[in-house]
Amino acid sequence: MAQHNPAVPTQHSPHLAHHFDTLEQQYDAANAGMWLFLATEIMLFGALFVAYAVYRFVYPETFFEASRHLAIPAESPWYLRSVFLGTINTTVLLVSSLTMALAVHAAQTGKRNRLVWLLLATMVLGTVFLGIKGLEYFLKYEEHLIPGPNFIFEQANRNQAQLFFLLYFIGTGLHAVHMVIGLGLLAYLVFQSRKGRFTPEWFTPVEMGGLYWHFVDVVWVFLFPLFYLIGLHE
C-alpha cells in the first residue's frame, strides 16, 4: 500500500501528473471528479423524470393507455412488440454492464488480452442495444407515434398521449446519445489497452469508463419500467 507522504513523491510513475504527490491522490481525485460528473447526469435526467412525474400525475389514464400502446401495439407480432424488444434490450444492457465490470476486473489483475476482448464485447452489446432501439423507433414511426403534426392516437386524448411519447423519445433519445458517447470512450479504451497502457498500478481510465457505462445502465433501469411497463395489466 502506497503511503501518502508528500515528502517523498513517487516520481517514477509515468502516469503521475506533476501537481499530484502520489498516484493514490491522483486516483482519488479522478474518482471523486467522475462521481461529481455522474451527479450532474443524475440531475440532468432528473429534470426529465420530474416532467414525467408531473404529467403522469396529471393525466394518469392517458399515460396508462399510451404506455400500453407503446408496449403492446394492437396488430404486431409478439417479436416486434416493444415490451419484448425492451426486455431483450434491458438484458443486453445488463450483460454489457457485466462484461464492463469484468473488464475492470481484468485491468485490475493485469490480464491485458482479456481486458481487450471484454471491452470489445461491451462495445458489441452496446451496438446491439442501439440497433434494437433504432428498430423500435422505426416501428413507432410507422405507427405515427412520433410527436408532431403526424402524431395519431385514438385510444385517449391525443395531446396528452403526445406528451407521453414526447417524454419517451427525449428520455430514450438522450439515453441513446449517452450510449454513443460511451461507445466512443470504449473504443478509446480498447485502443489504449491494446497498446498496453494500463497496468494493475494504473488503470484509472478503464475504471472511469466503467463508471460511466454502468451509470447509463442505471438510467435505463428506470426508463424501462416507467415507459414500457405501466400499462401492461388490464
Partner: protein, 113 residues
C-alpha cells in the same frame, strides 16, 4: 495504489440477481396491483440500481467521499421532484383545464376579471 479486488463470483451473483429482478418487474407489470404497481416497479428499479451502484460501480468499497457524492445527488433529485409534485398535488380543482377547452374568449376573460 491498491484497490479492493472484488472476486469474479460476486459479479456473476449480482448479474444473476439483476436478471431475476428484471424478470420480476416484467412479470409483476402484467398483474393489476392498482396504485401499488408504481411502488413495486420503482422499488424493483431502485433495487437494481443499488446493486449496480454498490457492486459494479464499487461504491460499497469506495471512499466515504464517493458514497456521500452519490447520496447527495439522489437527495437533490428528491428535493426537486418532491417540491414540484407537491405543488401539482395541492392545486385546486379547476386545474388542469379540460382538454377540450380552447383559449378563453374575450367575454369569458372579462367575466373572470
Amino acid at each position: 495504489m491498491e484497490h479492493h479486488i472484488i472476486p469474479l463470483r460476486t459479479y456473476f451473483t449480482i448479474f444473476g440477481a439483476l436478471l431475476l429482478l428484471l424478470g420480476l418487474t416484467v412479470g409483476v407489470a402484467f398483474l393489476d396491483l392498482g396504485p401499488f404497481s408504481v411502488v413495486v416497479a420503482l422499488s424493483i428499479a431502485f433495487a437494481k440500481a443499488i446493486l449496480i451502484v454498490l457492486f459494479f460501480m464499487h461504491v460499497r468499497y469506495s471512499s466515504r467521499l464517493v458514497q456521500i457524492f452519490a447520496a447527495t445527488a439522489l437527495l437533490w433529485f428528491f428535493f426537486m421532484i418532491s417540491l414540484t409534485i407537491a405543488d401539482y398535488m395541492a392545486r385546486s380543482g379547476d386545474w388542469p383545464p379540460s382538454p377540450d377547452s380552447g383559449p378563453l374568449s374575450l367575454a369569458e376573460e372579462r367575466r373572470l376579471w
